[in-house]
């Protein structure tokens, strides 16, 4: 696995992560991510044929509880922490953008 990562890759990943970067950040991360990926290249090259992945240190089981109504966190308290709320809901800018 090649560890090479270009500045365009970094900008593409930043777009996927909704994390716009300044020019300086893009340059810095291009170098640093490349260095980190070089460091992990040994892992990428290991022969793990036939090894099952471990996603979680505990064997996970589905957890069910009785279907009973229990008190949750208070809605007004939650909404009071939001940057903007209205009529019992979170308020956000237009999802489809503004008309030009």
């Amino acid at each position: 696995m090649s560890g090479h990562i270009s500045r365009d890759d970094v900008l593409h990943v930043a777009r996927l992560a909704r994390l716009p970067l300044t020019d300086d950040e893009a340059d810095l991360f291009t170098g640093q991510l490349e260095a980190v990926l070089e460091h992990v290249a040994g892992v990428a090259a290991l022969d793990t044929a036939g090894v099952e992945p471990t996603a979680h240190p505990l064997p996970l089981e589905n957890v069910l509880r009785a279907d009973e109504v229990v008190a949750g966190v208070d809605r007004d308290e939650v909404l009071a922490q939001a940057p903007s709320a209205e009529s019992g809901r979170f308020r956000v800018p237009p999802v489809l953008g503004v008309e030009p």
Binding site: M1, V13, P57, P94
Partner: protein
């Protein structure tokens, strides 16, 4: 007890900066209430009046929880984390929220949006990270005990650098409900304290099944209080292995302290040998694929909609982007980028899935070692506390500070750091005791014996 610690805060917090928030008035009021209940003959719990510092990524109802990030500055959770609720029920008094590397990402507490914490033993040096504020709070006498969180060593490494006890319990032994998630399959809350017995007392209060965390271990926990009170004789006949691969990267003066700890256990009747756990050599790189991947997913929720910071934008997508660009610091951005990259199409199998297979190899290597040994020993950190600023511009050098601690996070096994003297520079050195899953009892017996051997 609360007054005494608040006086210490008054005297030195300005230099150390262990806290993001000190709750002096609230703590005094709670202590007064407890005094009244004690006077009335009530049993107020095993931690009655004990001042506890809580890492600022653990939710406290109505008290700001910031994760040392601008993105959450001023956010007041509408609920208490299970560990906080249990501490309060046991009579503990929360004296403040401690500083950390932003979202627990770092090994020096220099990545805090609110400025670094300094090591109480030498103010020019780091306290370690990411629970550096909690470690410093205990080391400076600001609190009797503290809670930290450990994803790759974030309790044990600062405990080592500050000369306190730090415990990462078995994954699932302590509820993560109310811990702000960094890498969910690795994160674990644990106690930090001046002594092994104090750490055991706190662990016994916070451990145990919690229906609110579906990854919490659903079996009774017998407690480690007794193990922590036992003397050196309790290690008689135990087989102790020094892990070659975890010792190889450490400075000679640090290794010398591990050897001294092994000799002390031998003198108390344990047998000591060399353990080889070859796959742990891959732990650090596997961690830096898995943890950022999980972090990039967990941190997607900071988008300016429900809590914390919102930066402006004409539509919702622009608002997400502006909020995240303004809210996160460099290390968090670096890990989100790394995580998003390794999860992206074309790289997922080569990096992320491969790291999860390596995790299986690490687990198997530990299981093989635990056929020959009851506990394993290693340095906690390869060096003593380093100067502020020494590694901030070199992420790889910083990542190396967790080289000995990360493997037990991948395996989900318990591990703790016990102070064991000082290095050539006179700064604290921690010895790491590792045990198999749910092996807390034997781990605390060894830790207590090590502590007793220094007395």
């Amino acid at each position: 007890m609360v007054e005494e610690h608040l006086a210490a805060v008054e005297a030195r917090e300005g230099d150390v900066h262990a806290f993001n928030l000190v709750l002096a008035e609230r703590a005094r009021a709670e202590a007064d209430t407890l005094d009244g209940r004690v006077a009335a003959g009530e049993d107020v719990g095993p931690l009655a009046g004990v001042p506890v510092a809580v890492k600022d990524n653990i939710c406290t109802r109505g008290v700001a929880t910031t994760c040392s990030s601008h993105v959450l500055a001023g956010w007041e959770p509408p609920y208490d984390a299970t560990v906080v609720a249990r501490l309060r029920r046991a009579g503990a008094v929360v004296v403040g929220k401690t500083n950390l590397d932003e979202f627990a990402m770092g090994s020096s507490t220099e990545n805090s949006a609110f400025g670094p914490t300094r090591n109480p033993h030498d103010l020019a040096r780091v306290p370690g990270g990411s629970s550096g504020g909690s470690a410093a709070a205990v080391a400076a006498g600001f609190a009797s005990v503290a809670l930290g969180s450990d994803t790759g060593g974030s309790i044990r490494q600062p405990a080592s650098l500050c000369g306190v006890v730090g415990v990462k319990p078995t994954y699932g032994l302590v509820s993560r409900y109310g811990l702000v998630a960094y890498a969910s399959s690795l994160d674990q809350i644990g106690p930090m304290a001046a002594t092994v017995a104090d750490a055991a007392l706190v662990l016994d209060v916070i451990a145990g099944h919690d229906p609110a965390d579906s990854t919490s271990v659903a079996r009774p926990f017998a407690g480690v209080g007794h193990a922590a009170r036992s003397d050196g004789a309790a290690v008689e006949g135990l087989r102790v292995g020094i892990v070659d691969e975890l010792t190889a990267e450490a400075n000679p003066d640090v290794v010398a302290r591990v050897e001294a700890a092994a000799r002390a256990l031998e003198a108390a009747g344990a047998s000591v040998g060399r353990a080889s756990v070859p796959a742990v050599a891959y732990s650090l790189p596997a961690y830096y694929l898995i943890a950022p991947a999980e972090a990039s997913s967990n941190l997607a929720r900071y988008d300016g909609v429900r809590y914390g910071l919102r930066a402006g934008g004409p539509d919702v997508d622009e608002m997400f982007c502006a909020t995240r660009a303004a809210g996160f610091g460099p290390e968090v951005k670096r890990r989100i980028m790394l995580g998003t990259y390794v999860l992206s199409a074309g790289y997922y199998d080569a990096y992320y899935a491969q790291a999860q297979r390596v995790r299986t190899l690490v687990l198997r290597a530990f299981e093989a070692a635990y056929e020959d040994f009851d506990v394993l020993l290693s340095p906690t950190s390869p060096t003593t506390a380093f100067p502020l600023g020494a590694k901030v511009s070199d992420p790889l050098a910083m990542y190396m500070m967790d080289v000995a601690t990360i493997a037990s996070n991948l395996a989900g096994h318990p591990a703790m750091s016990v102070p064991y003297g000082t290095g050539d520079d006179g700064l604290p050195v921690g010895v790491q005791v590792l045990a198999p899953a749910l092996g807390e009892t034997v781990m605390f017996r060894v830790a207590a014996a090590l502590e007793a051997s220094l007395a």
